[in-house]
Assembly symmetry: C2
Homo-oligomer: 339 residues x 2
Amino acid sequence: MSFLTLALDLMGGDHGPSETVPAAVQALSLLPHLKLILVGDLTSIYPLLQQNGLLGHSRVDTVHASQIISMSEQPAFALRHLKDSSMRVALELVQQGKADACVSAGNTGALMAIAKHVLKTLPGVERPALMTCVPTSTGGRSVFLDLGANVNCSPENLRQFAMLGSVVAHCVLGIENPAVALLNVGAEANKGNEQVRCASELISATPGLNYRGFIEGDALFQGVADVIVCDGFVGNIALKTAEGMVRLLSQASHQQMDGMSGWLQSFLTRFFKRRLSHLNPDQYNGASLLGLRGIVIKSHGRAERHAFSNAILQATVEVQHQLPARIAERFEAEPINRR
Amino acid sequence: MSFLTLALDLMGGDHGPSETVPAAVQALSLLPHLKLILVGDLTSIYPLLQQNGLLGHSRVDTVHASQIISMSEQPAFALRHLKDSSMRVALELVQQGKADACVSAGNTGALMAIAKHVLKTLPGVERPALMTCVPTSTGGRSVFLDLGANVNCSPENLRQFAMLGSVVAHCVLGIENPAVALLNVGAEANKGNEQVRCASELISATPGLNYRGFIEGDALFQGVADVIVCDGFVGNIALKTAEGMVRLLSQASHQQMDGMSGWLQSFLTRFFKRRLSHLNPDQYNGASLLGLRGIVIKSHGRAERHAFSNAILQATVEVQHQLPARIAERFEAEPINRR
């Protein structure tokens, strides 16, 4: 059996080791070909690792990192001064070829900055983008990016995101000639701001992209496009707003169950749980930082063990598809548009 | 009884008169103190008005307008060349003091441009903003703006939107000292782009605003702030994404009911309908164009009769609260920040 090795930043996220450690246990038991390098402040998490049977485990290595990047840390400060952070050490293991991918639930801005510095972008990629696959009403999934890695984007950045997303839709989701759309305030060509209108021109002039024009926010989950592109400011707010709506609906259901008979309440609770499950961020948790010379998966900061374990699974899928090599091939013949 | 008079643009929206005319009938029967001036291409809609008993109705006037602004029309073209459009004629009735407010489901960009030109903004207001009240998990409502009137905003625009929203939260929702937040990609002060960070400084320095800092998209429906401010590009996409999620959930429920017994299907269908109703855009339909010397309500383009009738009710509420006068008082002592 050929093993694949992931470096886990145990210290990141709102919950830290109390969730990332059990997630590691879960992933190891699910995937017999998985090896993990656990990175964190070993002095403080030693007892937790021991309790979970991870010390001396045949498929586990540990690497000590003395620093932690907090969720509110300035990315520039983290990049410059926290060189022994668990996040950075985990990324360096990928850069050194000791791990095939890195998974972290830590500070997104810091992960973006440090990953870019340590791993570098692939030739032709100006900026990495954060991507996830959202569920659609047609039962499929759409690639959605950027989710917050870049709060300011040029039209050329958006064009490159369209190319990155197309590679993922093709290689990972198996979609031939994936349809690409830009997220905008209207579907008509005259709608939106200068940024999206200019990006629209650039994308439609790019050979090999199956561009379908603008879509509005309400089409995001309708499966009308396989790849949906926007800047990181908009993408982050759109995805989190959708999450907020799922939570609102779930709270509203529970309120309306008051006064119902016990068995009906229990039936409805199970029904909602199943129904909301594939829309729950925990289920599609794991955003990929695309465009780097290595695989980096950003787990949701709020991720609990099950969600963090899903992010680990996603990393293994990208390793199996050798995503960075596929992206490099796509960008090889593609000049950066400097206009 | 003192009457109030609204001018309705019958021709706007995806459905046009086939929905706006029945909505007018519904609103007239609900509100005995309501008078309507129906504006549209009378030659084509005469039979429809007659069928619905609106010709010769004691509380209905009609005004002919020969042109229609299509949903895909360029706002600048509509402003310059479509001077006898139903939208413009309805707005002019407000400007001339013949109507207390105007309601249209037409092209948002055109409504914004023509309303600004015909009615003018109130002193101190640089740009009107499109606002709606979103439902929250605490059972209340939050004022959310801008929803797409301004795809490019300066920090000072955002500050003014915070003031506009605060007046609505206070006067219409009855909230003392409403809490204001800016929508951003993170709650920490260092997050986001230059625009929101600069707007945050301006808002926190504005006397009389109860500013609470940044919130993320998932807090939009949590009632953590009474007024939530963002630019129109982000606000439009966030709100429509939330609508798309409601639709996805509703479709997912129906799929999962296959194979259930008939009575259970019918019970669940009723349950979801009730549960989703207050989250449905139809129910909170009616966005206000704030900051003008007159009241303008933009109904959702997709609005059917019930939703358009809700937009009419909302217009009457703003007339009763004399919203433009309240906004004028708030901006009176407030200098425009030119930095």
